[in-house]
Symmetry: C2
Subunit: 342 residues, 2 copies
Amino acid sequence: MEEGNDGKHGSNVIISSRIRLARNFVNYPFPPKLNDRDAEEIILKVKNAFTNYQDGEIGDVLFIDLGNIGKIDKQMLVEKHLISPDLAASTRRCAVVVSKTENLSVMINEEDHLRIQSLFNGMRIEDAWKLCNKADDILDRDMEYAFSETYGYLTCCPTNLGTGIRVSFMLHLPALVMTGYIRNILDACHKLNIMVRGIYGEHSEAIGNMFQMSNQITLGQTEEEIIESIKNTANQVVDQENILRTELYRQNSIKFEDRVYRSLGILTHARSISADESLKLISDIRLGIDMGIVKNIDINTLNDLMLLIQPGCLQKVMGEALNPAELDVRRADLIRIKLGKE
Amino acid sequence: MEEGNDGKHGSNVIISSRIRLARNFVNYPFPPKLNDRDAEEIILKVKNAFTNYQDGEIGDVLFIDLGNIGKIDKQMLVEKHLISPDLAASTRRCAVVVSKTENLSVMINEEDHLRIQSLFNGMRIEDAWKLCNKADDILDRDMEYAFSETYGYLTCCPTNLGTGIRVSFMLHLPALVMTGYIRNILDACHKLNIMVRGIYGEHSEAIGNMFQMSNQITLGQTEEEIIESIKNTANQVVDQENILRTELYRQNSIKFEDRVYRSLGILTHARSISADESLKLISDIRLGIDMGIVKNIDINTLNDLMLLIQPGCLQKVMGEALNPAELDVRRADLIRIKLGKE
């Protein structure tokens, strides 16, 4: 994914911005009822659309037939949030189009015929929205979307009906977790119909103090209103997080620094480490960088590392299939190399 | 204390070798019944003996009147094992003679009139015995020891009667602790009338897997027999420890190395650390050095550190009195400097 954050206050609290659009074509049943021939036809039409119509901002794209790649490659695509775990596990004929920058991906024959997604590091929701629209325009040209004047875009699951949009932010909220105030945030978001989940989507735990915040309502508002509303809430949470960080540091700077540096010490010295433990330690170091405590590590190095430590990416980088014990050792090795300790 | 170990197998398991002789003079009551004038007189006589008779191996000595030094200095002497906690806390007129090498100290008016002690790093019990004898000879010249043909040297507590000797080894036994076999060692030692205690003597816990092993019987055997017997037992324990280390490493070298390096990571990165936690981490690193896992840290650096992290030594080095929170911060700073991480 192309690096970037807007350099503003709180840009490191917002790890990434994402928009996803659900779309279906007329004349085909929804994927659960789709036969192989129709599924194949949809894949081909999408592929042709991206071949025939190019866009400068999307740039070159890669077409990946999910039937032609192995388990590790699929896992890596999930870890990069380019496909969903459901698509990776699907027995249906399915595929994905990925831009070379990895800021855009279009899943074909997931729950809906199309899941157009755009993901950027930092607070760049407008860029994500722009890129989704570009892809939407390309796909819209030769094919007709299932659309109702009353309901808007028709989707497989009624929760996506209308705009078919899901706007989400990945937030790093260690101070809210440390102080326990995260409970209040979760309650408030629940009342505002905003979903808050762990790093790998629904039902996943918030490992490393990473929370994904997204809209639940897709109907009765414009896309821009939905984006604006969830963006405002995210920014308020960022403010709360930053206030608490400053306060925690003011109360006991030594305890704060001690925590950050111990995590750095363990991460740069371990000889075997799980992905979950790595994420917890990275969370502390990320906090240390944001607070100006850790100065010689770049935030982009940590962003890369958060991805590289995942089993799929790690096996891909190492060029071989590894069992869990081997993964833990190679992960520790890779972390030390990336953080310049080897 | 003068550095040294014999370079033999297991020399790092034996952290230090110590001999202590209990002696009393005739014509004076035992210290608990001693009046101030007599106490003063004994101090003066001992001081004169060391002034009048010098020994090349003992070298120059320092005379320290416990009434003239502050709390931090006393604490530091205890931490260096040059005086006992009892002497530091005593309200009696008392003093200590310390050789400049710090391999010898003579406590005056502790539980007995004299406690002649010699302490060396590593397995150097013969050197300790030689030095104690040299000091014993000096003190014996102008003064008469309380001695009975039947019982040997008379001591305040009957457990020291006879030879008045206590032979002890400080052992580092992490593998015996990890595997739980330390219980068997403790049981066996109990049956052999060998006392095993923590790092700071009676009733103290075995922090950092450090155990002090010493004889309980002082009567009915010669000094040489006592030394030989406890030395043999210590060497057997060293063998057990080394067998277990090799076996643990063989079973899971990664787990072993991971433990060592994580401890190193924490110790070299913490911004606040207690003496007990430091000792636990140093224990792992010491094990790592012995096993050839950690190569760029000298064992003597760790020996120095084990002492420097103690509150008395630390305040002495820092040149000021510090509260516990300040001590933890300055300790962490000093460790990072000593281990070359700052």
